[in-house]
């Protein structure tokens, strides 16, 4: 019984991993045309990719924009949520609706409006990373809000603050010493979820900024015709970068917990 479940599990895993494996194989092969298996293996594509300054810049841009948007969201959302949960708990219902708005408007639609709004003075933001950071902030908002709201509910924040107050702590001290450390898990999940979502976002990145501040997604799109092996190497590297960051964040989080 157990063994057959494990067998099934492996089969499902294999099916899911197959495209990735094929891409990996393709990225490592010299040519792979009319034959069943590749003619030979090489690291040429990988080396070519990782020594391409354009790729490194795009990678840097992507990480910068994603992290920028996430830092921005946390810095803005955490205090806002604290104030709502502690002083205006009734606003929670409003927030729950508000938080879903970014999903109500598809990026293709919103980008047209954003282009109109931010292509003229006083706010000429199209083509700069700032507009992407702003957009990604709104996209990350639902993930971050939900994860943090659940976390706040789970730790029974109000009672913790009450207890801290009675022990002589100010609301500031209660928030920093008691509430914030207990939101770490929720914040971590929120950041990780949004990061993996944002680093693959293509529509807004391409329409609002494009090649003027090339991110990884846009770079992939622009070099897709060069060579299949090359873009395969790119996709695999892309995947590895996300995997590495996720693993790193997870390891850091566990160590401190």
């Amino acid at each position: 019984m157990n063994i057959s479940i494990i067998k099934w599990w492996w089969l499902v895993f294999l099916i899911l991993a197959l495209p990735l494996l094929a891409t990996l194989l393709y990225a490592l092969s010299t040519t792979w045309g009319a034959t069943i298996l590749p003619r030979g293996f090489t690291l040429r594509w990988m080396v070519q990719l990782w020594s391409d300054p354009r790729f490194m810049t795009a990678l840097g841009h992507s990480l910068l924009i994603c992290l920028g948007a996430l830092v921005f969201s946390l810095v803005l959302v955490l205090p806002a949520m604290f104030v709502i949960a502690y002083y205006f708990p009734r606003l929670d219902a409003v927030m729950n609706v508000l938080i879903l708005m970014p999903f109500a408007v598809p990026p293709v639609v919103s980008s047209v409006g954003l282009l109109q709004l931010y292509s003229d003075p006083p706010l000429m933001l199209t083509g700069t990373p700032w507009i992407l950071i702003g957009c990604y902030f709104t996209l990350a908002l639902p993930f971050i809000y939900r994860a943090l709201a659940n976390n706040m509910q789970a730790i029974n924040m109000r009672e913790l603050i009450d207890a801290a107050h009675l022990l002589g702590a100010s609301t500031w001290q209660a928030a920093l010493l008691v509430v914030l450390p207990n939101l770490r898990k929720g914040a971590f999940i929120a950041v990780l979820l949004s990061f993996s979502f944002l680093i693959g976002e293509f529509v807004l990145a391409n329409l609002l900024v494009g090649t003027r501040y090339e991110t990884l997604q846009v770079y992939l799109y622009n070099v897709r015709n060069e060579s299949g092996h090359f873009s395969s190497a790119l996709v695999i590297s892309y995947f590895l970068v996300v995997l590495l960051i996720t693993w790193l964040a997870n390891a850091l989080n566990r160590e401190r917990g």
Partner: protein, 330 residues
Amino acid sequence: MSWLNVTRLSKSYGPTMIFQDIDFSASEGEFVTLLGPSGCGKSTLLRCIAGLTPVDGGQILLDGQDIAPLTPQNRAVGMVFQSYALFPNMTVERNVAFGLKMQKLPASAISQRVAEVLELVEMNDYARRYPHQLSGGQCQRVALARSLVTRPRLLLLDEPLSALDARIRRHLRDRIRSIQKELNLTTLFVTHDQEEALVLSDRIVLMDQGRIVQTGNAEALYTQPVNLFAAGFIGHYNLLTAEQAAQLTGETFHRQVALRPESVVFCPSGQGIPAQILGHSLLGNVIRYRVKAKEVELWVDVLNRSVESLHPAGFQVGLLLEPGTLREVA
């Protein structure tokens, strides 16, 4: 002059009155219980005394000082919550030390006082544990230590035992009482459990729908309930109409009559008021019989001495009623 004096305290949320014109006092070292059904306003009253909820009007005198306008930080009042409210990110030690750190005491003094108070609640072996590694009873003892370490002028306990299982509840109940006596700490205890209230308190303040129904010690509340609510809330009562009571005893009554099931005594058939057993249920050390006497049905509690003394349904007995046990209530 009492240590704590609450006068004309009122609180409402919009049109909803939570409590009104609450007056009670506690002398130094007294253990006072606020007893009442859920929603009677007792927990809100406690939160108001702690300063966590603002009051609409009234005075809270603690050691001669009106603390009603003060923030909770400045009241020097300790509180234990039903859900423990321990800080999950801190060890037992750091939880207990928190209040002293806020007072900016030197580290050596803090660690000494933390060790003392952990000893008092028998938790010194667990100082390095996190709250999630402790059982409910242990958590509540840490919470108690955390509120005692700052040496509060008044200790507030908000249903601290309600989340615990029966055995631990009894043990912690006795521990709380002995610590309270040892420190001579004025304590306000909120509960909906009449047994806890009767066992622990020097004085009980019985509340219903935002008002105080009766104040007194356990005996007074048990034997002399002032009204129907008080009679029904504490212990078990037979409630008879004036007619039923007259029928049973032959005397005249003007109001409803409350009769404790344990104050009715069985005697051999032929003596007392003739009655028939209808059935029984076993409550452990007590057997509760349902009996019928002169067309009136009654509960009668008898100590469960042995299996042989159990009366089967249909058995004929006599009932003895002391006149003083029948109490007219409003």
